[in-house]
Symmetry: C2
């Protein structure tokens, strides 16, 4: 005789957390496109307008997810870099932390690098993450090669950021049964080319 479940009220902040958890899972699972707001709401156990009252729009919800991942990513990489001595070690540890985080948080990773580009705003947010990374790396390079023109440093930093991202995506999409490239190997390949090249600039 079905006692219809009484409407449970939950504090706003807590509900927000629940929704973000569900959204990351649903968006990364089915893809942002195919994921309906109703599906997210159902996972949380509420109805659609609740999502809208918290995040305004589907895009707003995606943006909030991206922002959360951004924070986590920044935390983990800057913590790793802080433990290093010298620019090379900083780049190496930061890069390794980047790959490790993406390994540990697969849904977050796929949300960021596979789903975020659907919306203008989310793509812009992702671009800002990259800008942050680029600035940080350009700073490291400047310490290592102080004579170099800033524009060249920025170009190099973009090379490194792009390389990291591509390696991450390749690692993630390794469908072939072959042995997957480990985070340490990916870091090595990057440092091989990039840091060796940097060390031998005229």
């Amino acid at each position: 005789m079905e006692t219809r479940t009484p409407r449970r009220r939950v504090a706003r902040a807590e509900r927000e957390r629940q929704i973000l958890d569900a959204a990351v899972a649903v968006f990364s699972g089915r893809g942002y496109q195919n994921a309906s707001m109703d599906a997210v709401a159902e996972v949380v156990g509420v109805t659609k307008p609740v999502l809208y009252s918290h995040f305004g729009s589907k895009e707003g919800l995606l943006l909030a997810c991206v922002a959360r991942v951004r924070t986590e990513l920044l935390d983990v990489t800057s913590a790793a870099a802080a433990a290093a001595d010298g620019p090379e070690d900083m780049l190496r540890r930061g890069t390794l932390a980047f790959f490790d985080y993406l390994d540990a948080q697969k849904p977050a990773w796929s949300l960021l690098y596979s789903e975020a580009s659907v919306s203008q705003a989310a793509a812009a947010a992702l671009e800002e993450i990259r800008a942050q990374q680029t600035d940080f790396i350009a700073g490291l390079l400047a310490v290592q090669a102080p004579e170099t023109a800033p524009q060249r440093l920025v170009g190099w930093a973009h090379v490194i950021v792009g390389a990291c991202e591509r390696l991450a995506l390749y690692r993630g999409s390794a469908a072939d049964g072959g042995p997957r490239m480990s985070a340490a190997e990916a870091t090595d390949h990057l440092m091989d080319l990039v840091w060796t090249g940097l060390a031998h600039q005229p």
Copy 2:
């Protein structure tokens, strides 16, 4: 007194070309998401079912656009590489041709690298383009560094492909009024790090 425009019939292949032109323009203009099939149809001057009779679905239309860009990109880069002598020159000329093509075909570029990731299938097609590039580059690297383990060569090739893509996106999204990085500069920055690094491997 409005002579209502008589229904003009057009050969299938020609219509297909028209639709692809319109689709690239509309998709890259408003973004794939925000572009309705009706909007594409209106640009062509037909109605929606015509698009479906040619391409089956919105995703199918996107895929056809991506396939076309892929062919053009492959043509232009392999032509450039064919004119080179030795692996370094091949990589340099191929990279430069890549950047030049994206400069010349801005809508095609933005379609490929901003809009393609919305659909699973288009993302897979893009990934295949990257795989093609990676294989080609890994071949060049193998000539230059024949003692190196294949897996390492592949890792390096991914570094290069990712760097190219990132540099292209950075160049494209240069909103700041500053002097935009030229195709030649982008190529230089890439070769600086990557080829110099390669030349000094143990």
